[in-house]
Amino acid sequence: MPVVLFLLIAAAFGLGALMMGGLFRLRRPYPEKLMPYESGIDPVGEPRQRFSVRFYVIAMLFVVFDVEAVFMYPWAVVFDRIGLYAFVEMLIFIFVLLVGYLYAWKKEAFRWE
């Protein structure tokens, strides 16, 4: 509940600051001013271009490893209670993922040039 309150106040703070500024600041737009910045040269072509597929691979690997990390949190918290048994279990889990990690490494999924 305090978290929700905090979120609301943070949002109000951000929007409030913007709106307060809106009351005072100048607004004199003209086409050259509104042009996207490209070091003084008129922009050429579409800015939202297609980009390297590597970003996609990184995002995919991130999803997998994020899930792995999430699996570790409850394990870490109860480590005291279930001890060695859980440790071996997690070793197997990490080992399986390590295979995938090494595969990705070998296939140069992490390499950028």
Binding site: F51, V63, V70, Y85, E89, I92, G100, A109, R111
Partner: protein, 168 residues
Amino acid sequence: MVELFFGYLAGAVVVLSLLVVFSRNAVHSVLWMLLMFLHMAGLYLLLNAEFLAATQVIVYAGAILVLFLFVIMLLNITEEMRLEQFTVGWPMGVSVSLGVLIAMLAALSGFRTDLKGPWSIEAVERTTHTKALGKVLYTEYMLPFEIASLVLLVAIVGAVYLAKKRLR
């Protein structure tokens, strides 16, 4: 009070899902979906499942949605989404949705609230949800947990293999 919160969250999830579907701009869809995931996390909080709520935000909002965003930006669909062929298939879509709805309504008759396990609400609150989940997941449900690692392995291999040709 709890009913009020639940009503708001459930209603918001439905409205936001509709917005996701009806947004013309794919990036706006992703934003609505982000908001919807946050409301779903709120629903988990109401159910005392704070670990699931955090996981919902970390994995779905923080990871899977990022992947969506990347794919949308990678494809940069601006012209394609106005094409006819993506809008003519609606009779098929409606019939599939109706079928799913009927199946879900049929499943509703099997819905029971009187089942009780060893983990009552009080027990979960006492041990905290994360620890309760850890204790059960890493003892009773060891096999599904290990199988999950294999599923993740498949995901890694699949992603790397699909992109392999382009990586060189």
